[in-house]
Each structure stands twice: as structure tokens, then as C-alpha cells.
Symmetry: C2
Subunit: 375 residues, 2 copies
């Protein structure tokens, strides 16, 4: 069972009190200080960077996608290679999702029934079936430290009736996945996922049902699926307090640096998102004072690093002018250097938030963060 | 002026004596032990890898392409950034070619006259002109430790008359480039290039004319342009002895590991080729016992590294199965890990040849190399 220790809950007072919390998760592959951001290694690799780069960026845990790894190289390969850790040579903790989000976002013709999800591969159109048990079984083969229950993720907008149907299946699947996991020995950890779309009532129902199962941790799914940011905040703010205080809370697939700061303030512990790595590959780089497009002509002769305040490998070695040249020339090194910078930025932001919570200065940090990012 | 010291000439005897030589080149950015292979950093970056990766691979000097860097980011940017070393953060020696090969291989509608070469950019079709003086001037802006004279490179096959016309222009341009360089102060180093296609008589004429100019080093151009390997060897074997013993000898754009061993045996000191990096990106990896295609299905479950005998980062950390998965998934990390391996292989091969020459065991090394690569 996961060992989660709440080190500190933000004790600040003021015009508005913070619910930010500092914690430590222990896994078989080492500890994780929360709040934490998890870089996404969809196919068993965080695009363009090595484990040493991830160490440099401060990554404590990375994410792998069960849907992708199931299709390629396939569970039989990863089983033979003795798990995703050994296969990818990543020795720190790993979290895998269940495939639920990809059935919503990527797979062709996903068909949901009480039994599970039939889908076609986005690679070759081949037909497959995931039951909640199978989703856990595959993740046990992957050997991830934190596995996720199979869920039905709705897009936005969705009707109350659609959302409720997905919620009901999500709850049943969560119970079946949990039972399968327990019967199989209960190794590693399995998290439950709260759904309920953009309906507070349904979020409450889902939270009650999912937290009624003794998962070692809980996630909020179905956010950042096309809704306005304010609505996402509203749902998170409503749902986070419904999750048990003594277990880790994970909001899936979110978000911008601003999102992370707001959601940490609301008491969220774990995040993952492709934004820092994907945006890096599109030339969008995060800085203390805002986000820049490195291909902008104004950087043509710019000798400064991306961010003077940044200690990452890229900022310590390369100018904006060189990075612009690499990006314009579509050099592979561009994607790598940009990715290192953006992930460093995200993970450094999390470290700064942890320090601020520790020092009872989270709201001060937050004010300062927004003041700088707005300039 | 370049300081080149011939440390040792192979003294072996046997059924055939070797002309392999060990030398040291001194440049403003440090020394280079020869024979050496120079990784190609066409656009100011060796595709997908950093300077630290290049250090790990054992790179002493890398190559930049004047044609590409002239078109993008442009000499005005690199001048403002204080040269290619500062721009790319590469602190070791740099060699730049003159653009001559790209006029043959890449530029649109290159037109050669006595004055120089008119050409259109392969990027945007814009019109440009390189005189031999301008080719040197741009390289002086790049600040490379070794610059190359503008030459006219012929393809294969070419007639004697065509080849001779190109040779005559190459000689005149070499003299004009040399004079320009001398007048401008003679900093860094400018090499002359011997042409003459597949005609020994013309190679002899070109060698006599080019070595008649007091360049600090000499290259053989116009090889590996489509001719059979045996013909390439014949031309190199004929031409290398015509170059002065006390200056470095560089064969441009060659070649396979086997080519390097044969040409070192003939007394060549310097090489460059896109083969190790380009083939890496196409999944072709060099090993002690031959070349493998990493996408081959037989590697699907293979826990072994690319080459058990290899000490490179890739082989020390990753299995063939994982590298096959990355390649099949088109993961950016694939190109990087493969490139590190192939460049390490090439540079380690050069180091082994240097050690063998030092130990008077070059021919023994060569026999062993071919025996293993054939299995």
C-alpha cells in the first residue's frame, strides 16, 4: 500500500486562506515530494530527452500511457523485458494511466459497454478490448508504481444524462479494477478516478462512490477537455475537498503554469500534462515573465538566454538567437533543448511551491508569481 | 599558421607495407590527434546531440556547412553572435567547407563561371553568388579553425573535358581564395582542395597545382560522388602520395568504416561524412561484427545492447528491444541514442587506429577489423 504522509497543510491566513499542502509519497522506486508535476512519457520515453535530462529537470516521477504501450511494443514485449522500468531504463517512480483518456481523445470508434471498451488502434485500425480488469492487468505487467482505474472520460459539452451514464460505468469499473487488483495481490498502487463532467452534483456523487472504495489515492478526471478555465477551476474547487485528506489527490491532464498554482492552492498534490513538452516542440517557451515564441523575429540576434532567472542546461548554455536558428532549421536539437527548458520550468515551479508551503508563504508566492507572469 | 606535427609513420613491414600515419594538429581551439573523423554539424548542430554528447563520443573537431549557415541564419547573425563557436557553444575546433559540394548536391540551378558560382537557395529559391573570395570571407566570419577553398566538385560519371574545366576553375579559385586570405591577415587556416574526378592524370595535375600554393593543409575532393568503391580507392591511393608529407591530408565526404580503415592505411589524416549520423536516423547501426537495422523484427525481445563491445552511453543503458521500439514509434530519443552510438563507433574506430599506428600494429589491426566486420 502506498505510504502517503501529509507533511504540512498551508496555515496561512489572510483575505483568503490557502489549502495548499506539502506531502511525501513513498513507492518501491523511491519517494516523491508533493505537490509534483509528472512529465509525460507516452511511449516509454519523454520525447527527445534522456533519464539524465529528466534528473537535471528535477523529475521525481514520470507517466507512461497504457493505451500506447499496449499497442506498441505490446505487453508481451514489456513483460519479457521485465517491466517498463527495465525496458526504458528509468529507475524512479512511474505512473501509468488506464487508457480511458485515449479512448476519448485518440482511438477510433471506441464503444463503451458495461463490460468495457471496444476500440480500434489509431496506428493500424486493429480491434481491441479493454475491460477494467484487463486495464489493471496490463498496468501490472508494465509494473508502474501508480496505476489508474479504467474510466469513461466525457468531452465538453456533454449532457447530464451522458455524463451520468459515464459516471455509473466509471464507478462500476473502479470497483471491478480494485477487486481484480486485490485478488492479484494488491502490489504497487491503484488510484480511483472521479468523473462527473461539469455538474457539481455528479462530481459529488462520483467522489462519494469512488472514495467509498479503499484506493490508496484519488484522481479527478474529465477536466481540461475543452471547458473554459473558470469552469475547470470551479469543478476542481468543488471536488478536491471531497477527497480524503490523508491520501494523494491528482488532477489529470492539467495544465498551464497558472493552472498548477491555482490548483495547488486548492489542495491538489499531483499533475501531469503534455503542455511543457508539446509546447516546447512548437517553439513556445515558459519564462518567469510570460511565454515566448522562440521563432519570433525579434530573437534573431538576441544573445540572452530564454530566461535570465533559469538555471536549466539550455539557459546556461544557449542564446535565444541560437535556439531560434535551431527551431527555424527544424534541427532535432531544438526539440530537446526546448523540452529541457520547459520541463525544468514546470518542475522548478513545483519545487518553489513546495518551499513556499513549507515556509508558510504560499499565498505570497502565488501573488508574486501572477504579478511576474502578467508583465 | 597551422601547426601539424607528424608523430609517427607506420613502420610495419610484411606482405604489404602501410602508409598510415599518426599526427597532431594544433588550432586556436585546441589540439587534434590524427587520423580523425569529424562529425558533421551542417546547420550549426550535429543533429540531435549536444556538445556533451560529442565529448562523450570522443569528438575532437566538428564540421559546419558554409552553404547552409550562409543561407540560415546568415553571416550577419553569426557575425553579431561573434562566430560559430560562440553561437553554437562548441568550444573545440571547427572546420567549415566552402559550399562547393552543396552547389553540386543541393543548390538549385548552380551556374559556374570564372568569377564564381551563381545559385539559388534550396530553402526559398532566393538568388546568391559565391566568389572564391566571398567563400573565404564568410568562413572568416564563421571563425572556423580550418576553412576550405571554393572548389568545383564533379559528379560521376563526368567526361575528361568537363572534369578538366572544373579542375582549372578549382585551381584559379584556390589561388584567389588564398590571396584573399593572406591579404586579410592569414588567420585561422585555409586548406586547398585537389579535384580531377576519376582521371589519374588530372588528379596528378590538380595535386601539383594545388600543392604549389602554400596552404597549411590539403584535401581531396570529388570522391564518393557515385563511383564504385574500388575506383574511389584507386584515386585516393594515387593522389595521397602526391600531397606533402608534412601537412595534413583530408579526404572529404568519405565514408564507411571500411573506407576509413583503407584510407588511413593509405596515409589519410582527416575524414568527414554524414554516414554515421544519417544512418543512425535511419535505424542503421554500426557494430564490431557488422551493420544492423534496429527495426528488424528479430530485435523485438532482444535484451542485449547494440554491440556488447561498445562503451557508449546508448549501449551502456539501453537494449536493442527498447531502441527498436523507439525507432518504430518514431520517438525523438531514437535518433539521439542511435546517433550517439554510431558517432561513438566511428570515433572509437579512429582512436583504435591511432593506438595501432602508435604500437606499430596497424596492419594487424586492419586484418582483425575486416575479419570481424565480415562475420
Amino acid at each position: 500500500m502506498l505510504d502517503f504522509r501529509l507533511i504540512k497543510t498551508s496555515k496561512e491566513t489572510g483575505s483568503k486562506s490557502s489549502r495548499a499542502r506539502l506531502g511525501q509519497l513513498k513507492t518501491d522506486h523511491g519517494p516523491i515530494l508533493t505537490p509534483i508535476f509528472m512529465p509525460v512519457g507516452t511511449q516509454g520515453s519523454v520525447k527527445g530527452i534522456t533519464k539524465e535530462d529528466l534528473d537535471h529537470c528535477g523529475a521525481q516521477i514520470i507517466l507512461g500511457n497504457t493505451y500506447h504501450l499496449y499497442l506498441r511494443p505490446g505487453p508481451e514485449v514489456i513483460e519479457h523485458m521485465e517491466g517498463l522500468h527495465a525496458f526504458s531504463a528509468w529507475k524512479k517512480p512511474l505512473l501509468t494511466d488506464s487508457g480511458g483518456f485515449q479512448f476519448f481523445s485518440l482511438a477510433k470508434l471506441a464503444k463503451f459497454s458495461d463490460e468495457g471498451v471496444k476500440f480500434q488502434s489509431h496506428i493500424d485500425g486493429s480491434r481491441h478490448f479493454f475491460s477494467p480488469e484487463r486495464a489493471v492487468e496490463i498496468q501490472m505487467i508494465l509494473g508502474s508504481d501508480i496505476m489508474m482505474s479504467l474510466d469513461w472520460c466525457m468531452g465538453h459539452p456533454a449532457t447530464e444524462r451522458q455524463t451520468m451514464e459515464a459516471l455509473v460505468k466509471t464507478t462500476n469499473w473502479a470497483q471491478r479494477g480494485y477487486d481484480y487488483w486485490q485478488t492479484a495481490g494488491g502490489k504497487n498502487n491503484l488510484f480511483g478516478i472521479v468523473q462527473g463532467g461539469m455538474f457539481k452534483e455528479l462530481r459529488s456523487l462520483s467522489a462519494r462512490q469512488i472514495t467509498g472504495i479503499d484506493f490508496p489515492g484519488f484522481a479527478i478526471g474529465g477536466l481540461s477537455v475543452g471547458e473554459p478555465t473558470e469552469l475547470m477551476y470551479e469543478m476542481a474547487d468543488h471536488t478536491l475537498p471531497l477527497l480524503p485528506e490523508n491520501k494523494p489527490r491528482y488532477i489529470m491532464g492539467v495544465g498551464t503554469p497558472e493552472n498548477l498554482v491555482e490548483l495547488v492552492d486548492m489542495g491538489c498534490d499531483m499533475f501531469d500534462c503534455v503542455m511543457p513538452s508539446r509546447n516546447a516542440r512548437n517553439g513556445q517557451l515558459f519564462t518567469t515573465t510570460g511565454t515566448i515564441n522562440i521563432y519570433n523575429a525579434k530573437f534573431k540576434m538576441d544573445k540572452a538566454p530564454i530566461d535570465e532567472a533559469c538555471q536549466c542546461y539550455t539557459c546556461q548554455n544557449y542564446s535565444r538567437a541560437y535556439l531560434r536558428h535551431l527551431y527555424k532549421s527544424r534541427e532535432l536539437l531544438s526539440y530537446r533543448l526546448n523540452t529541457i527548458h520547459n520541463l525544468y520550468y514546470y518542475l522548478d515551479l513545483m519545487a518553489k511551491m513546495r518551499h513556499a508551503i513549507q515556509a508558510d508563504q504560499f499565498l505570497e508566492f502565488k501573488r508574486d508569481f501572477f504579478a511576474k507572469r502578467r508583465t
